[in-house]
């Protein structure tokens, strides 16, 4: 399972990445999770099963979802409350839900 997070420079989402990795380990899920800056989101998307955007960059959603639809990668904006709490588990659940919905 490959989860890609994107924000302006990949800094604040990388905080979330380590928490999500912890949550995945606890649940016994094997997941590759990484964060990128917005200019790399489109090229890295091909390697991902799901793409989540930081809420402060939610204006990217329209542009990115166009590309993502073509590539069949589900995209969503991370919920601001989970983002503020750096709630790795909630965001991981969201990612899993999006992947399952697609299947």
């Amino acid at each position: 399972m490959k989860i890609l997070l994107a924000c302006s420079s990949g800094m604040s989402t990388s905080l979330l990445v380590s928490k999500m990795k912890d949550a995945a380990r606890e649940k016994g899920i094997e997941a590759e999770i990484w964060a990128v800056a917005q200019d790399k989101a489109e090229s890295d998307m091909e390697k991902a099963d799901v793409l989540l955007i930081g809420p402060q960059m939610r204006f990217l959603f329209k542009k990115i979802s166009k590309v993502a639809d073509e590539k069949g990668v589900p995209v969503d904006v991370i919920d601001p409350i989970s983002y503020g709490r750096i709630d790795g588990e909630a965001v991981l659940d969201k990612a899993l839900e999006l992947i399952q919905k697609k299947v």
Binding site: L15, R58, G84
Partner: protein, 438 residues
């Protein structure tokens, strides 16, 4: 604040953010500066090393001169001629967006820019004045990158290319396929150069510098425009939108040019002309724990609050705040859409901008030298590096105290609210447990 009002505002702001961030040219501009950033920071590092304060008191004048001449080329080949890197970066990224061979787009822009650059200095021909590749040429370079890529694209899309028969190696075919578009693009700029040589401006560079760059940079260096730009950043963040990404995409060319002009003056041993520049905003307004100077909020939380929610937030957001990453705080306090904090959120940066401006205008704190530090550089270190003086760090400390004081009453109210809810919920829980026991 009525929810209808905030809703209306968000409906206005979101499309603006969308337009500005996703605009093709502004996007290429932002990415182009990103490409140049490692080179800019490399040059900055050596400017700092070459100008360590008090070095002249430790070693002899001759030794200092020798030392500086050894380090000098580091910034002269990167930071001072940053235009070259930015132009190539912008053109490369823009061509890439069009799905064309980005390397050719980048080099076509670079060659076009050199064609437009004066190639004579004080009567000596065959030289390119390095100033023309730095501050003076930055705006021309940005325009040239946009225009040359558009022209290049125009001819490639028209299929004005030389087609190679099958069996010709791909690389050979590629080099020929870009031959006609590049030839036409560069010829266009050669013609522009020729036309301008007959005007009183003599060069397009001079034309753009006088008519666009100068007016824009002098406008952008004013106190009021700076306050407006800073306020806009705060307003966007209040709605949970990345303010700098949006506002800086417009302001960066101006702020970077101002920094570069300061650097040229610093290297020449002259007085730095611009108080407001990239570092003024990056280091003294944003670089104090992140946008809105939230290091002060973290400090306030640790010193003056007792609710569990705020304490936890401080622990969660503290380490990131050292490196000016503050999304946990912005979304966690929350600052986003929270009417309780809108006054300190908007007021603090305005006050700090004014204090910083006058601290520098009065000469108490030196104006930034124009060196670029990564935006993740911790508070106090960043202030010291960009002003080349301990006074820069002291100014950050003063600003920090000011922001803590502005936030304090509001943080207290917030803390009381959270504390009360925590008390009642724990009481309820206790009661619930007692009930079970009974």
């Amino acid at each position: 604040m009525g929810s209808k009002f905030t809703e209306t505002l968000e409906n206005i702001l979101l499309p603006i953010a969308d337009k500005l961030n996703n605009n093709r040219y502004l996007g290429a501009l932002r990415d182009g500066f990103m490409v140049a950033l490692p080179f800019i920071i490399f040059g900055s590092l050596f400017v700092v090393l070459a100008n360590i304060p008090f070095l002249d008191k430790i070693i002899s004048e001759n030794a200092l001169e020798e030392y500086q001449s050894i380090l000098g080329p580091a910034s002269a080949s990167t930071l001072s001629i940053m235009g070259l890197f930015v132009i190539f970066g912008i053109a490369y990224k823009l061509t890439q967006q069009y799905g064309l061979e980005a390397l050719y787009g980048g080099f076509a822009a670079l060659a076009s820019f050199i064609i437009l650059t004066p190639q004579v200095l004080e009567g000596i021909s065959g030289v390119i004045p390095s100033a023309a590749l730095g501050a003076q040429g930055l705006f021309l370079g940005i325009f040239t990158a946009f225009v040359s890529v558009e022209i290049y694209k125009f001819f490639v899309k028209r299929n004005w290319t030389i087609k190679m028969p099958q069996g010709v190696p791909d690389a050979v075919a590629k080099s020929f396929s870009s031959l006609i578009p590049i030839t036409l693009t560069l010829t266009f700029f050669l013609a522009i150069r020729a036309i301008f040589s007959y005007t009183s401006f003599e060069t397009l560079q001079n034309f753009i510098y006088t008519l666009i760059q100068q007016p824009l940079t002098s406008l952008g260096s004013g106190l009021i425009p700076t306050i407006i730009a800073v306020l806009l950043i705060q307003v966007f963040w209040f709605f949970g939108l990345h303010g700098q990404i949006i506002v800086n995409s417009i302001m960066d060319p101006i702020w970077m040019t101002l920094s570069l002009e300061n650097l040229e003056a610093f290297n020449a041993g002259l007085e730095r002309p611009h108080i407001v520049n990239n570092q003024f905003v990056d280091t003294f307004i944003v670089g104090m724990g992140g946008t809105g100077m939230t290091m002060a909020v973290i400090l306030g939380i640790f010193l003056f609050t007792r609710s569990r929610q705020l304490k936890n937030l401080g622990k969660l957001g503290g380490p990131a705040a050292v490196f000016n990453v503050n999304e946990p705080l912005i979304f966690g306090l929350p600052i986003v859409m929270n009417p309780m904090v809108i006054i300190p959120w908007l007021l603090s940066p305005v006050i700090v901008t004014i204090v910083t401006y006058f601290a520098m205008a009065s000469g108490l704190v030196p104006v930034s030298t124009g060196v670029h530090v990564p935006w993740t550089t911790p508070i106090f270190i960043s202030g010291m590096l960009v002003t080349n003086s301990i006074a820069g760090a002291i100014l950050q400390l003063v600003n920090l105290v000011i922001v803590v004081l502005i936030w304090l009453p509001f943080l207290r109210i917030l803390d009381k609210q959270y504390f009360r809810t925590e008390q009642t919920t724990t009481k309820d829980q206790k009661q619930g447990r007692d009930d079970k026991i009974v």
